[in-house]
Amino acid sequence: MELHSRIPDGPIEKKWDNHRFGMKLVNPANKRKYHIIVVGTGLAGASAAASLADLGYKVTSLCYHESPRRAHSIAAQGGINAPKNYSNDGDSVWRLFYDTVKGGDYRARESNVYRLAQVSAGIIDQCVAQGVPFAREYGGLLDNRSFGGAQVSRTFYARGQTGQQLLLGACSQLSRHIGSGNIRFFDRREMLELVVIDGKARGIVARNLVTGELERHVGNAVVLATGGYGNVFYLSTMAKASNATAIWRAHKKGALFANACFTQIHPTCIPVGGSYQSKLTLMSESLRNDGRIWVPKKQGDPGRPEDIPDGERDYYLEQLYPSFGNLVPRDVASRRAKEMCDKGFGVGPTKMAVYLDFGDAIKRNGREWIEEKYGNLFNMYHEITGEDPYNVPMRIYPAVHYTMGGLWVDYNLMSTVPGLFVLGEANFSDHGANRLGASALMQGLADGYFIIPYTIGDYLASTTFAQADTMHREFVEAENSTRQTITRLMDIQGSRTVDEFHRSLGKIMWDEVGMARNKQGLGRAIEGIRKLRDEFWQDVKVVGSTATLNSDLERAGRVADFLELGELLARDALHREESCGGHFREEYQTDDGEAMRNDKQFSYVAAWEFTGVGKEPSLSREPLSFEHVKPAQRSYK
């Protein structure tokens, strides 16, 4: 398939402005004639729905939670970037753009990243106006801190709960419109099918999770803001219900899936404790501002960390990367932690952890200062591990955290299915092969507040729509096929639980498609996933009924989709014979263990087309060109 990225002409700093001027507009009185369906109520979905309703469009918003505020954006801790340069340390739109392209290891579209940097300052203004209580200095102005991959302080934060405060801000605007009737909101609805009429996305089939009924929603455009697919690894920092079903089913209806192998492993998570574990908990990257990462220089059992003198500690990030130190980007920090543990320097009962030590910061600034900045994170750590991080260093290990890949979108955030727009983590667009800290909140809100309100208008104004209602043949067929899938799942009545299959899939993904990948392992993974998928459809046991709240059935559908997506992820990783960002192929590394890109062959976006379950997907390439940030080997030394 030929991909049209629709990047506007002109110099990069003028592209977005020119494009906005060139777009067709919908007359204010006509906006209410257009109906937009927004799936998901995280940062991207809530901000999009509210902003579209502000403009006067008819909006339907759905989420599988009971309330929009439960979306997993709520759990983002550290902060949100914006080049306000309030710190007077040399920040600018150009520098944020540069850092993000470089941080993404030169696998993102320059034009998108520039636009992201351009609109991000406005997000902070918008959020403050909504009453988001960002951290402030004594003079009453906003405070900033630093995040990985940047040498300036451009991260705005609200203690360790920035995602919560931003989401509550966006949801407050969503609530305002629900209250005044401008948005119709449906809670506990899960999108199970995309409806395409005359080649355009015109609606969805959703399941009412309380009654089990299948419902049809028709509109002029569908916006997916349904998050990432990190739970394909089973254990991740994602919420338990986070899933890929909406984007995967859209993929099966024709939307291309891009860069599936670009997954982010976050370096600072609480290590796995035991087989009972249902999820992993992140300790915000902001902690690396003041915490120092180290392992003992001696292998084996060197004793309690507080008894190990400074001379016998290896502050390996500070040694290897003197200019960025503990604030190297996530992919680098994660890989180095794994390397240390693989070499036998790991600490804790499982030896699969490194220390994150606040001893020096507490000595320097006092306990109160730390409490003020990171209090909730320290409490969370204490609660989970039973250890007090004010007295002993935290133990951390990398965990799956974010997926840079997602549905392919053009500059307008439209997928390869006309009328299907994809926002936030669900799309592939801005982070390349590695996302920098505090950039996810930025992208989600940029997409929702400042990009989709413009680009969707252009689509609506320049498209003629066939008459279609929920009785259209395509709706009937979509509902029937959804019902068949559900019945098929219920009828298997095998012997293994959904969770057992999910864990088995997660093990394959983590072992072979995790932090380090190689050709043989990826081959094994593809084979293993296919076998597991066959077993799933013969031996899964789903209990309960289809006509009531049934969490077992909900999970079964999601795991079925992960069993297909996992294979695509492994295939994408196998085909990309280079290392870049979060995608590390052991065959392609420099002598000192850094990722070795192959710009000649792989400077492109890999967009995959679905051709049938178990069939080889077909690859389309969107070449990437870098006019402003010249690809070089990333150096944080």
């Binding site: 309330s67 709520i74 918008q126 909504q130 629900i178 338990k240 409490n379 639980t497």
Partner: protein, 246 residues
Amino acid sequence: MNFTLEVWRQKSRDDKGRFVTYTVHDISADASFLEMLDVLNTELVKRGEEPIAFDHDCREGICGSCGMMVNGRAHGPQRGVATCELRMRNFADGTRIVVEPFRARPFPVLKDLVVDRMAFDRVMQKGGFISVRTGGAPDANAIPVPKSVADDAFDAATCIGCGACVAACKNGSAMLFVGAKVSHLALLPQGQAERKQRVESMVAQMDAEGFGSCTNTYACEAECPKEISVSTIARLNREYILAKLS
């Protein structure tokens, strides 16, 4: 660790519901309360029985989805945590644990431990916001907010909307939940324009949903996983009186 559980099972909103006794074995002391229920649910599914339905999602105490009465306490015996953060090491081995849904008239039980808390959302929709259209906001540093004010607003804004305050209150009052939002927005300069109207409409909706009145038992503060202070209720009362008198 081993436990005997008395769990509330209720098929649907209209079903009467009853306690059912289960036993769980070999539970790790580091497992969370919900992970302990996961273990039980896996056994139930293996036996062909329906798993216990409970709301949960982030499992790190911030989404506010989970919430159940554990031995009569909202979110269990630990202070300042949601059920998903509660670890089994806080219970004596071999003990009996009673698990029920949050009970309040405005929170109907949908199934087992799952309740419908949309009443909270409907209260929010009446005024839990500052009306700002997207675009055209002034520079974020245009209005300085003293740090102490911003900190107080933040403390109130950390509410996760789990409903523990209502479940803990003998009157089923939502004053802590509403007080937290009213305080957050009334403290900030940005919230001034709609200050009076906000508190009046939110309180009216709170009453319409059937939440009870506050009689100052402070049970809400004691059970709030985010330890939101009852001073937000005092502020709610003050805001309400000011709005009514002016």
